[in-house]
């Protein structure tokens, strides 16, 4: 994939979810991002190829580069096909590969980006605020926000950008290539780092002055919230319960 094409597809992929609908989800965004690649592969006869990409498509947005790269590579190969029967078979294969990639990439991306990186970055920002505020460092609020954005976007933008190249090169063998990446261990390491940061912040919030608010009530509330979350109860319901408990205590005191 040429650098110019890669840049254009990458820039357009930032609107992947710009026209998200329940019916076909990211299909319009996917076609919009892929259009420069279709133009290059099929020239003025790209309408038929574009129709192919109006079908349902949905994946994790930061992993979309892999699917876009693979689709661009397969379209380029397809455009060189002269036998109509083989071209039809290649188009069929492209759709199948895209479908399977979408769900596989979504599973990997949801676990890594939403389930691990996002809370780990939040934990880092909260810990940074605590430390910077305690040390009286200038602009602590801005520094915490920038840390969060830098940590998350470094991984997210890199994956989007590199995904295009790797997808274009690997095409059908992309799942095998992705299998070599340390998704599982990376996600586990991020969660562990996040746990350490949140745990330390919680401990500091409980015992270290000037935050120190260690009371049996606070400890009991934290333990109860953890137990309720472990049972899968959502935060809004727990908060409603805390309100009810607070009102009862307020009425009794």
């Amino acid at each position: 994939m040429s650098a110019g094409l890669r840049r254009r597809v990458f820039a357009r992929s930032l609107l992947l979810q710009g026209a998200w609908s329940f019916e076909r989800m990211q299909n319009l965004g996917f076609l919009f991002a892929l259009e420069p690649a279709l133009e290059r592969a099929h020239g003025p006869r790209r309408a038929e190829a574009a129709q192919r990409h109006l079908e349902y498509f949905n994946t994790q947005p930061y992993m979309s580069g892999f699917a876009l790269g693979a689709a661009a590579g397969m379209e380029e190969r397809l455009s060189r096909e002269t036998d109509p029967a083989r071209a039809a078979a290649a188009a069929e294969r492209l759709s199948a590969v895209k479908r399977s990639l979408a769900s596989g990439l979504a599973a990997l991306g949801d676990r890594f980006f939403w389930g691990s990186l996002r809370p780990a970055c939040a934990a880092a920002a909260v810990a940074a605020w605590g430390i910077l505020w305690t040390l009286d460092v200038p602009f602590p609020v801005l520094a915490g926000c920038l840390l969060y954005l830098a940590l998350f976007n470094a991984a997210a933008l890199w994956t989007r950008w590199e995904g295009l190249r790797i997808g274009f090169e690997e095409q059908e063998s992309l799942p095998k290539a992705l299998g070599r990446w340390p998704w599982q261990s990376g996600a586990a390491a991020l969660r562990t780092a996040g746990l350490v940061l949140v745990g330390s912040t919680a401990l500091a919030a409980l015992i270290v002055p000037p935050w120190g608010s260690f009371t049996p009530w606070n400890l009991a509330v934290l333990a109860a919230c953890l137990a309720l979350k472990a049972r899968g109860i959502c935060a809004a319901r727990i908060y409603a319960g805390l309100c009810a408990l607070g009102v009862i205590i307020g009425a009794l005191t």
Binding site: L15, S21, W114, A125, W129, C145, G250
Partner: protein, 207 residues
């Protein structure tokens, strides 16, 4: 509401609506996450640490849900901006009242967003018709018809929450018995522990 606020609130709502587009539609650079939007709006209103507190709290709460597939979780950006504007803005609402109001605004936005997403199915027809006619897909029209209603919804909801909801909630808060406001204040003080518990749970769980 003072003249200062009457002129700035529409601007702040429009700014928040533009920022909120990052949540799903454009880029997803995470600038719309509560942990960034909260401190940003707090700083704009001269209450940065209030923004940090709300931002961290709503960020933790929104970490419990994954925006996967057709699931539309409560909108953390709308929730935090509403809470910060209500608390540090013209209503000067106590944080204990602004927090649940922000949660409700975030949930309301998610419900309205579902309707918008359903209506966007019609945009496929625009692309299909253009391709069938052999002309270029009208991308500008497609994205404007998708993004403008979304931004308008966010701006209207935030403006309404602060301009109308603020005085109503402020009056209600003043009218509530002391035992009730004390209780809600207590629950808000505990919400720090709830936020930590949600974050710990999100990290502990295998996503």
């Amino acid at each position: 509401m003072s003249l200062w606020w009457a002129t700035r609130l529409p601007l702040l709502s429009a700014g928040a609506a533009a920022l909120e587009l990052d949540n799903l539609c454009v880029g997803q650079w995470m600038v719309s996450r509560p942990i960034v939007a909260g401190p940003l709006f707090g700083t704009l209103l001269g209450a940065p640490w209030e923004g940090v507190a709300f931002g961290a709290l709503f960020e933790a709460l929104s970490c419990e849900s994954v925006p996967a597939g057709s699931h539309v979780p409560f909108n953390g950006c709308v929730a935090v901006v509403a809470a910060v504007l209500l608390s540090a803005g013209p209503g000067d609402l106590p944080a204990a009242a602004a927090f649940p109001a922000g949660l409700a605004a975030g949930k309301l936005h998610a419900l309205a967003e579902k309707v918008l997403r359903e209506r966007r199915a019609g945009l496929n027809a625009l692309a299909e018709e253009a391709l069938a006619a052999g002309v270029a897909v009208p991308w500008r029209r497609i994205f404007l018809r998708s993004l403008l209603p979304h931004a308008a919804l966010t701006a209207t909801l935030l403006f309404g929450a602060v301009a109308l909801g603020g005085p109503i909630l402020g009056g209600l808060w003043d009218a509530l018995p002391a035992a009730l406001t004390r209780g809600l204040q207590k629950a808000f003080d505990w919400s720090l522990w709830l936020g930590l518990a949600v974050l710990l749970d999100a990290l502990r769980r295998r996503a």
